[in-house]
């Protein structure tokens, strides 16, 4: 239930913004240049969780290793969604308590939740990050690579909705922390010992 609670918590937080704009001042609201600067919230998404929001908020998830961060964006409505996918396929598991853990359940769930906020699947574009190969054995040939399987499964799932992937930063061998900005659909990616890049 934790994923649900946190997602729901995020959704309620999101609603505080239109309220602030229509209903006057909220405590803690800041003003600059005579315009109301909106509270930009950074919504944190845990492993196997997801969240959806609208401009100007940001969605962020830390430490993607072999996990894949799926970011969907509808430019018209500025509805954005991010899912932290951990495994490719739920079908071999008896109990899928957290659907966002799996590529085959997480992507449809994300699309559905974004549609509830007014987005349309036909307008959505996707950005992907993660799917790294973190563990390497001694002779380099002995590798574990669930990351690639996650990438493939996410792409397959997006294909079913005909969602186009506009950019991706996947594979490799480094972990990634990502932030998805619903204001402009930009995805910034940070890795250990490397700078931040934006795709």
């Amino acid at each position: 239930m934790a994923w649900f609670a946190s997602t729901f918590g995020n959704m309620t937080a999101r609603h505080s913004v239109p309220l602030g704009r229509n209903g006057g001042r909220e405590p803690g609201m800041t003003f600059s240049n005579n315009t109301v600067s909106k509270h930009v919230q950074e919504i944190h998404i845990g492993i196997a969780e997801y969240s959806v929001t609208k401009a100007p908020h940001r969605l962020t998830t830390l430490g993607l290793g072999s996990c894949v961060g799926v970011c969907l964006f509808d430019r018209i409505t500025t509805v954005a969604g991010l899912a932290h996918i951990m495994l490719p396929d739920s079908t071999s598991f008896k109990t899928a308590v957290k659907p966002a853990k799996f590529a085959d359940l997480g992507v449809p769930l994300l699309v559905r939740e974004m549609e509830r906020l007014g987005a349309k699947a036909s307008r959505m574009e996707a950005k992907l990050a993660g799917g790294a190969q973190m563990f390497i054995g001694n002779d380099k040939s002995s590798v574990l690579n669930i990351g690639q399987r996650n990438i493939d499964a996410v792409k397959e799932s997006l294909r079913k909705f005909s969602i186009r992937i506009t950019s991706e930063d996947v594979g490799g061998s480094v972990g990634r922390t990502i932030t998805f900005d619903s204001g402009n659909g930009q995805l910034s990616i940070r890795s250990l010992g490397q700078g931040t890049k934006v795709i």
């Binding site: 196997a48 830390l62 430490g63 563990f135 922390t177 250990l192």
Partner: protein
């Protein structure tokens, strides 16, 4: 299959004996005194474990081995980045502070430590239970804890939200402090025979 609190106690004791054996091996290797914490056997969710070990973005070096045989399990041996560097310094006879990254040499050193510790940990359990436990070759990852830990679990097929972990801390403080987390993740279904071998009635 569920695990009773009595069985958790037994796993904790097994962890204690295994960790004791592994600590002796590490002490011989480093020529230093090794302290171990009392192992804890418990079901934990991933986020909680990450918080416990040091946080999502903490840089760590992690050696992982798969245990096959009559009990199946995964071993994770996690060092904070700096502690791994110190360990490499100690084992390669370098001045403390010499190592500042993980090169091929460093990889081999840390993986070998993982090998030796896991071997002696499992040896003690084998002896006690009469069960055959075979470790795989080691794998190494060097990155954020939050990227490393879920990857290890995903690779080895831990799909449940609650995961059984037997966790202990090794530390040496005779020269420079080195701490490491040793985590054994038994595949719960494979534990049945172990409890039977120990004479427990299920």
């Amino acid at each position: 299959m569920t695990i009773s609190s009595q069985e958790l106690d037994v796993l904790q004791e097994i962890g204690n004996i295994g960790a004791g054996n592994a600590a002796t091996a590490l002490a011989n290797l480093l020529q230093a005194k090794i302290d171990i914490s009392v192992p804890r056997a418990q079901f934990m969710v991933l986020d909680e474990t990450i918080r416990c070990v040091g946080g999502v973005e903490k840089p760590v070096v992690c050696v992982s081995l798969r245990v096959e045989g009559e009990v199946e399990a995964t071993v994770l041996f996690i060092f904070p980045e700096r502690d791994a560097f110190r360990l490499i310094d100690m084992l390669t006879g370098m001045e403390p502070g010499f190592t500042t990254g993980i090169d091929e040499m460093g990889r081999s050193v840390v993986m070998e430590i993982g090998n030796i510790l896991t071997g002696s940990f499992l040896g003690a359990i084998s002896e006690m239970t009469g069960m055959r436990l075979v470790p795989s070759v080691p794998y190494l990852a060097y990155d954020m804890l939050g990227a490393v830990l879920p990857t290890a679990l995903a690779e080895f097929g831990y799909e449940d939200d609650q995961i059984l972990m037997i966790q202990t801390t090794f530390s040496q403080s005779s020269s420079d402090q080195i701490d490491s987390q040793f985590i054994l993740l038994p595949d719960v279904v494979s534990l049945k025979q172990l409890f039977i071998n120990l004479g427990m009635v299920r």
